[in-house]
């Protein structure tokens, strides 16, 4: 690239720098300053400089583990549901492709709150369990406020985020590659394992990141479908700010949370880049 005159370059990057300062640096700075303060006697933030809040996080690992456990499980199940669906739409659906995609996406134009709240009635004892009881399938099935309901809520709410990147990866995959694999003696399963899956891996990684990261910040689903018995980081943050009004500790937890997410994102994108570099454009080794 030719060297720009310094003034011009300063000018042209100014909006980006401003954006970065306003939306990234400033909030993170505030977050950090608050996180090393102390809680005021009536709650809130009262200045100071101490790392006690970070040390206190050691006693609050439960929500972190809980969040990791559920979000990994939820992401995995979402993947298992989304992949076959994406495969069907991208490869088998033919002309119905657009209709099916629309069916997947359109429900998500309504508020997540309403859709999730509706599940409390579907899963409550007058909903699905009542139907199953009627049919004599099970007697006393309890679905609401169970880990199952939380995972279901995650799958339901985040399905499109998982499905779309996988769909795009599969859609871009040249069908003649699958044909070539079969031509060379690989059965359906072998073809899937050796060709389709590895070549859609960047989409899978992308989808997993798109789901995992917001699910880790999930607040609504554990409250509505988990009955508040499962405690996510998002719930811990909400409680720290809204109930106990312990801003410094909340800020420290949020900071740790951001670091965790950043780490996941970095690892995830590195993996995705390696996979997609291998799968599509191919940079010289």
């Amino acid at each position: 690239m030719p060297k720009l005159i310094p003034r011009a370059s300063t000018l042209s990057t100014a909006p980006a720098v401003a954006w970065f300062v306003v939306f990234m640096v400033a909030p993170l700075t505030v977050l950090f300053v608050v996180s090393v303060g102390v809680r005021g006697p009536d709650g809130g933030y009262a200045g100071g400089f101490t790392f006690d809040n970070y040390l206190e996080l050691g006693n609050r690992l439960a929500p972190i583990w809980n969040t990791l456990k559920f979000s990994l499980l939820g992401t995995a199940v979402t993947l298992l549901v989304a992949y076959p669906l994406a495969y069907y739409i991208a490869v088998k659906a033919g002309r119905r492709k657009l209709v099916l995609l629309a069916l997947v996406i359109v429900p998500f134009w309504t508020s997540m709150l309403i859709r999730t709240y509706a599940w409390t009635f579907l899963l409550g004892s007058n909903g699905l369990p009542a139907v199953l009881r009627e049919w004599g399938v099970v007697d006393d099935l309890r679905l609401l406020n169970t880990p199952f309901a939380i995972v279901l809520g995650i799958v339901y709410n985040y399905l499109p985020l998982m499905l779309l990147p996988i769909y795009v990866a599969l859609e871009r995959l040249d069908p003649s590659l699958r044909a070539a694999s079969k031509d060379l003696g690989a059965g359906r399963l072998a073809t899937f394992r050796q060709v389709t899956l590895p070549l859609s891996a960047p989409g899978v990684v992308g989808g997993c990141l798109l789901v995992l990261i917001p699910v880790m910040g999930e607040y609504l689903i554990p409250v509505l479908l988990g009955g508040g018995r499962s405690y996510f980081l998002g719930n811990a943050l909400a409680d720290l700010f809204l109930q106990s009004r312990n801003w410094p500790l909340g800020a420290a937890l949020a900071g740790a949370f951001i670091l965790l997410m950043t780490a996941i994102l970095l690892v995830g994108t590195a993996v995705a880049r390696r996979l997609s570099g291998a799968a599509t454009t191919g940079s010289p080794a």
Binding site: T120, F121, R229
Partner: protein, 374 residues
């Protein structure tokens, strides 16, 4: 007629913590609105309106806490339009007031927040000359309390209790918190406790023979062990208690008066019971923000809302208990005679107000998060 739409909206708001988001926007907007716009349409709009009142007033309150017809009547009489901002918790109102420039004129905090609001100068002393209220005849259970001696800063809007709701399906009739929690721990995921440390830790403490306002680490860890031990037996830790009860998922629950009234009204197989071994009494109280943009309108509104006829109308709408016997004379008989709304003096005698220390205690907050995250 109580409106049907009030079903647990407060609880849902509280549960979602969305109130703060919604109202932050409103408050921000109000704070930014140019002062010139105030009072421009008041003269024409108000029948007999006093020009000094301005044209609007911002009321930070809870969902379905005020009869819209009454607010309309106030506008007709004074030309002042009341902007209602609803919150799911006192904590959210407090967050905005502390941030300053909230635009709030009148706030309705729960009693436990009041000492902190006074010491932090978030609210100002009431101008009793202007609001023209005499508290001398009021129910002693709710006026002149420790949280605001002599009611210098606040007047109880209404009061209520934290009791237990259970359905006939339960086959038992608990009357104490001890019985409640024993039952809760013996059932397979049928009991709900509210997601509020004050009410849930307090009630469990009472069940263990401790003080409702327990704060010492020893007592709190006893409560924590107790609740953590039965957590897997609970249906939910949620402030939105009504759907579970109404759908038959939950058979008994800690509940506030408002939930009790609504659930029992709609389904008489439910009972709302105030524990005989103690528990919580609470009040939500009128207060005027120290930086209220429209103090005169605030005084006028408090005067208006305490006229017995208006106060009674509001009680008929909200179905909570008022502290002024003169008002209660005018309240619908079925409301006054409803023991859920107006429990008798003996029933409330063992109850305690949550104190400011309880509200602010970091140890209680930590205990609660331990319980929830276990």
């Amino acid at each position: 007629m109580p409106p049907m739409n009030n079903i647990s909206r407060r609880d849902l708001l509280r549960l979602l913590g969305y109130g703060s988001l919604a109202s932050a926007g409103v408050a921000g907007f109000a704070a930014c609105s140019p002062p010139e716009s105030e009072g421009t349409d008041s003269g024409s709009g108000g029948g007999g309106g006093d020009g000094e009142l301005g044209s609007e007033l911002t009321l930070a309150t809870w969902p379905n806490y005020d009869d819209p017809e009454l607010l309309e009547k106030f506008r007709e009489e004074t030309g002042v339009r009341v902007n209602v901002q609803v919150y799911g918790s006192t904590e959210e109102m407090e967050t905005l007031l502390r941030a300053g420039n909230s635009g709030i004129d009148i706030a309705v905090p729960s009693q436990y927040a009041i000492p902190g609001w006074i010491s932090s100068k978030l609210i100002q002393p009431l101008d009793y000359d202007k609001i023209d209220v005499d508290l001398s005849g009021w129910n002693k259970a709710v006026v002149d309390q420790e949280f605001d001696p002599g009611n210098e800063y606040t007047i109880p809007k209404h009061w209520g209790t934290t009791g237990m709701i259970y359905s006939e399906e339960l086959g038992e009739e608990p009357t104490t918190w001890r019985e409640f929690f024993e039952l809760a721990g013996s059932l397979d995921r049928r009991a709900t406790i509210v997601d509020h440390q004050i009410s849930s830790i307090g009630s469990a403490a009472v069940a263990l023979g401790l003080d409702f306002n327990v704060q010492d680490p020893q007592g709190l860890s006893e409560v924590a062990d107790y609740l953590i031990g039965m957590k897997s037996k609970l249906f939910a830790i949620s402030s939105d208690v009504q759907p579970g009860l109404r759908n038959g998922d939950s058979w008994l629950s800690i509940a506030w008066t408002g939930d009790g009234v609504q659930v029992v009204r709609d389904n008489p197989t439910f009972k709302y019971v105030i524990a005989s071994d103690g528990g919580e009494i609470w009040s939500d109280n009128w207060s005027v923000a120290a930086d209220a943009p429209h103090p005169e309108a605030a005084w006028a509104f408090l005067k208006f809302i305490h006229e017995p006829e208006n106060a009674a109308a509001n009680i008929n709408f909200t179905l909570y208990a008022h502290g002024d016997p003169e008002v209660n004379e005018l309240v619908d008989k079925e409301v006054v005679d409803n023991p859920v709304v107006y429990p008798d003096d003996d029933t409330i005698a063992p109850l305690s107000f949550a104190t400011a220390e309880t509200y602010n205690s970091p140890d209680r907050a930590k205990t609660w998060s331990r319980i929830k995250s276990s």
